[in-house]
Each structure stands twice: as structure tokens, then as C-alpha cells.
Amino acid sequence: MKQRKMHLSSLYLAFVLVLMYLPVLMVVIYSFNDSKSDVSWAGFTLEWYGKMLHNSSLMEALRNSIVLAVSSCAISAVIGTIGAVGLVRCNFKTKGLLENAAMLPIMIPEIILGMVFLAFFSFLNLPFGMMTLILAHTTFCIPYIFIVVKGRLVGIDKSIGEAARDLGASEFRMFFDITLPLVAPAVASGTLLAFAMSLDDVVISFFVTGAQTNTLPIKIYSQIKLGVSPEINALCTVMLVFTFILILISGRVGKTRKNRTISKEEQRR
């Protein structure tokens, strides 16, 4: 009786997972199909990957996306990390308010954030392009890093820092020698998450990009609107591979973090 129940629940899990992966699998399979528009399989080809590589506007969009993700993540890693460190260690009246406001960009629907930036940047007369993209992406990347780092900081023994201070370390040295090494894994995993979000963002980029600057998701969006084409399959597959690499790296980071806390607990015993 119990055995059969187990099977039924596993069957359900498997069924939903298959549904989840089916569309992704389709994209990958058809990127190798040697037929422009037909559904039936016409043999294996790498033609679409070759075409993709020679499509200069696609390559430019890819370059833009990487520049955008790297720069907005770098800025938000700094602001988010030191912000979390500063906020956890002090207590002032507007702290709760600030934390709530800082989380707003990932709480409200993306489209509102996009519209808000579009209106605000044109009010400021900023030229739409890479700069506005970086500002907007930085704004929604900060919360991801901030929250992960904050979560890690709460679990750190405060006396370690105090000991360093008592032994004469300056505030500056304490941050770089004690706090930063302790939160580094959290900074890394938060930044990777933010990186993935920036690389994938369609809605906000759609509003704040200029006519001249395309990011990869924007390019894909405008092409998909025209219908299905194997070149887009190839491009999507490349993006999937990118994402899997990110997940692998982040899994690595997570593992080292786990090991470290375990060894710390063992030491305590």
C-alpha cells in the first residue's frame, strides 16, 4: 500500500518535471535540425550555429549583454556588500525603512520598474543606451546581493570582529581581513544570481535601452515575435549552455560554503 503510494507520487513528480523540460529540450533539438521550417527531422547540422556566429548584430548584442551584466554586477556587489555589512552592524531609526526600500526593485512587478526608469531617465534627459541600462540593472541587482550577504552576516559570530578591533585592527583592516573573507561565498553566490538575472532581463531592458543598443534578450524577443527560426534555436541553446555553466559555478561556491560551516561546527565541538 505504502509502496504504491510512493510510486504514484514519484510518477507525478516525474510528469511535471518532464513538462518543465520539454520546451527547453525542443529548442535544443531543433537547433540541430537540417530543415528551415519543417517540424520533421531532416538530419543533424551545425549550419545554424555557423550562421549565428556570422551574424554581426547578434554578436554585438551578445557583447552588450556581457558588458552590461559584468558592470552592473560589479557595481552592485560593492554597494550591496558594504551596505549589508554597514546595516547589520548599526542600528538607527530609518534602517527598516531603508531595507524595505532597497528590496522594492525585486518586489514590484518588473514592468513598473521599467516604466519608472523610462519616465525618470527621460525627465533627467539622460541619453538612452548602455549607461541607462547599467543604472537600471544595478538597481535590481543590488537586492539579490544585499539579501544573500545579509543572511550570511547574521550567522557570523560578532565576537570575531570585536576581537580584531580589541587587538588594534582598524575598521578598514577588520573589514578586509575578517568580514570580507567570511562573507565572500555569499557575495559570490549573490553576484552570480544577479548576473543570471541581468543576462536574462527582457522587461526592464526593453524600456531603458536606446534605439542603437540591443542586448541579447531584446534581440531574441524581436526575432521570436516574427516566428520560429532555427538560428534563434541555436542562439537560445548557447544561452542555455551559458546558464548551466553559471549554475555549476554557483553550485561549487555553495558547496565550499557548506563545508566551511560544517568544519567550523566541528571545531567548536
Binding site: 525618470f120 575598521e171 553550485g251
Partner: protein, 288 residues
Amino acid sequence: MKKTARRKKDKAWTMAVPLYLFTIVFVVIPLIYIVVLSFLQKDVLWGVTNQFTLNNYAKMFDPVYGKTFLDSLKLAFATTLITTLMGYPFGYFMARLAPNRRNFVMLLVVVPFWTNALVRIYGWMILLRTKGVLNQALLALGIVDEPIKILYTYGAVLIGMVYSLLPFMILPVYSSVEKMDWSLVEAARDLGAGRIKAFFTVTLKLTLPGVLSGFVLVFVPSIGLFFLADLLGGGKIMLVGNLIKNQLLQARDWPFGAALSVVLMLMTFLIIFLYRKLTHSKDLEGFF
């Protein structure tokens, strides 16, 4: 001793300054600007005048726009309902797996969250189009005589919504089931409650915060996913998100777009507020 502690605190404060400034300049001020903009009159051709007006809000009661709002809410409710019905059992069964299998399934659920939403929607376009994989399969199996139209219909948008937002229901449910104290269920069973009764009176109640958190995480984004409605609905299905986008980029009526955003934002805050009141917790269950 006390003095050094005080000084330390003062210095720590300075580290939060960039976060403070950035949040004020790029989150708080722009939001205030949008609220102000929503009360201004649109200029005849382009831009806004400094005239105060409530017309932008009154306009929402126009049947055309009102219908979009209702349609969008209906779709959001349908999406939330289906994701709950599909996601609850999934999260529940997942939490009851052995730890190593559980971690593996968890990974499989989280991976789509990292992959590009467009890529996944594109996969559905390949599956659902008239000459697509699904129709070919149905024809081959003799279930239908001629291809059925699924892509560019309401149904396709609903499928896409459920598909995109399902992980946001699974994860909070999983997290609340995993945390649940099973001895309470056992107690109910010992006291004579049947399997089903024990589930509805104990398990469901204890995991309600997870379900409610899932409601918020599914409902809120589902109103704004304009690109999903564009791609799978073929531009025929209008969400509030599409309306905002059109007001901004086509009709060039920014004050009306701002008013729509303000209403959508207030709705979001209300939903989050209700969630916090109902569950007495500050954070959304299973989200970070």
C-alpha cells in the same frame, strides 16, 4: 569602552551610505516622480503640462481599459489557481523524498528559474504552433483529423503563465512542508482522524503560509508579463502590462501609463500587506 563602541557604530553607518544614496536616487525619487506624473495632464502632442488632473485615474473606468484590467486579473487568478493545484502536490511530494533525491529534484526545479524566460516561451511556440510538435503528434496518433490552433490563443497564454510561474509556487510550498512538525499529523491520526481529514485539518493549515507566499509570488508578476502575452497570444490578449507598454511606447500617454503603474503598485503592496497580516511574518516563505 563605551566610547569605542559608539565610535565603531558611527563608522559602520558610513558603509551603508552608498546603498542609502543609490536607493533614494534610483528607487524612492523615481517612484515619487511616477506618482506626481500620474496626476499631470498630457500635453496635446507630446510630453506633459503642469496642470493637476484626476483624468488619468478616471480613464481607467472607461469600459475598454476596465475590460483589460478585468481580463488581466481573471488570467492572474486562473494562473494562481492552476499553479496551486499543480504546485502544492509537487512541493509536498518533493519534501517527502529521501534527502539525496530531494536535492536532485530541487536542482531540477531551480534550473529553469535561472534560464531565460524567452527561451522557455520559445520552446512552447515550437510545441504549440499549428505545424508544431504537439499537432504532429496528435495527427499521427489519430486523435485529431486536422491541426488544432493552440498558439496565439488565450489557452496558450495561460499555459505559458502557469509554466513560467510554477516554480514560484513549488518552492514556498516545499519549504513550508519541509519545516512542518509531522508529530502533529501523527497525533491527529492517533486521535482517530482519517488520512484525508488529517491532511485538511492539520497539514494544510500548517503549510498555509507557503501557499499564501506562492499566491503572492505567482499573482504579482502574472499581471505584468507583457512579452508572454505578446508571444503566445499573438498580440490579441491584452494584460495590464501590455496596456502600460502601449501607453508608453505607442500612444505616448505617459501620465496614463504612470497612473496604471501606480494602481498596479498599490495592488502589489496591498497583496503583500495582506500576506504579512495573515501569516504574521515579514518575509515571503521560501523566497530567499
